[in-house]
Subunit: 215 residues, 2 copies
């Protein structure tokens, strides 16, 4: 705020890139889908739409930058949460979906972009893809930690990881798109999601063997 005021009325905006990303995220959180217009966004930032191209190669690149930043922040939050969680591998695992869901609640707009369907295959999303892969890798690594510590059974953890990724992502996605009201009135959705994800993880762990059957 204070720093934003420094050069408010100047010819040069100062922090156009961040401003645009923030405005885009705000709009997406409000409207539910990345349906914003580059021109509206630029106008809201007090700038011509052509100015945006000094900072992002395209509209898509703006989205990619938001997604990449989102996954980077998610990763940071996850690591911080694991640091707090201490040495218990299972606690370190459980903390991941919790962080994921907390971040989603904090930044639904960013999440909409992060979960956006099928990013273009070109370089635009390369950074976002890498950041996302790192986040997934952390889940996998922690699951292996659990195996090594004897908290989870030995064997190929592919199914387990897929299942964990699936519930978390699935419930997040359903919640984000407002589809969970159908299944439970709509009250305190966030609580239901968190409890369900946590309970699912416990169920996966308790179901010794089922998720490790012959593939």
């Amino acid at each position: 705020m204070a720093e934003a005021k420094r050069k408010q009325a100047d010819y040069h905006h100062g922090r156009l890139a961040e401003t645009l990303m923030a405005l885009a995220v705000k709009r997406i959180a409000r409207e539910g889908a990345p349906a914003f217009t580059l021109r509206e966004l630029a106008a809201e930032a007090g700038v011509t739409h052509a100015a945006t191209y000094r900072h992002f190669a395209s509209r898509e690149a703006l989205l990619a930058a938001i997604a990449a930043a989102g996954y980077r922040e998610l990763r940071e939050r996850e690591e911080a949460a694991q640091r707090v969680a201490g040495d218990d591998p299972w606690a370190r695992l459980l903390v991941l979906p919790e962080t994921y869901l907390a971040f989603m609640a904090d930044a639904p707009g960013t999440f909409h972009v992060m979960l956006g369907h099928r990013w273009a295959d070109d370089d635009t999303y390369a950074e976002a893809r890498a950041a996302r892969a790192e986040s997934y890798a952390l889940l996998e690594a922690t699951a292996v930690e659990c195996q090594n510590a004897g908290v989870l059974p030995e064997g190929d953890p592919a199914r387990l990881i897929a299942a964990m990724l699936g519930v978390t992502h699935g419930l997040a996605s359903l919640w984000l798109s407002g589809q969970l009201g159908v299944v439970a009135g709509g009250a305190e959705m966030n609580g239901l999601v968190r409890e369900t994800v946590r309970a699912s993880f416990e169920a996966f762990r308790a179901s010794d063997g089922i998720l490790w059957g012959s593939a």
Copy 2:
């Protein structure tokens, strides 16, 4: 095919609505996102883009129609599968995600639209929303069947249903957007998804109590 040829070169197309929906689905399956252009679509159907507005109020309405038809077909497939499954409530439950995933594999383009993030709130998607709600209701009803038959514990099944919906939807969504390669090489994804979903359901069932804890 045969019937499509009947009036091929005529002024009136004959089945423009179905043709447009089919072409759109094909494009979406290929390109991964509903990024098609009404004009390209119309051209591919051998028609001016303005002609599409005789059948769909807007581009969005086309998508809504695809989604609605998709959920209707899903529901039909689910009911048919349950008929085949017979009387065992658990079998009738397990058949639902299997049908879901099989449909997704058959019609990825349609699924992309069905799972599309946050539909507009206006009437455009009213029918699609209703069809989707019916599909969810079937899962809920079958879960209650299982409770009544003693196959699943008593109590509020909200978490269980959310969990089942979550894994299924989540893995489908991850598979559709090509994100599962990260977690397991990429070979036979479809198999991994189906096995994981099934195993998850079994885990939920086996984990007596965990998913029914105090909400």
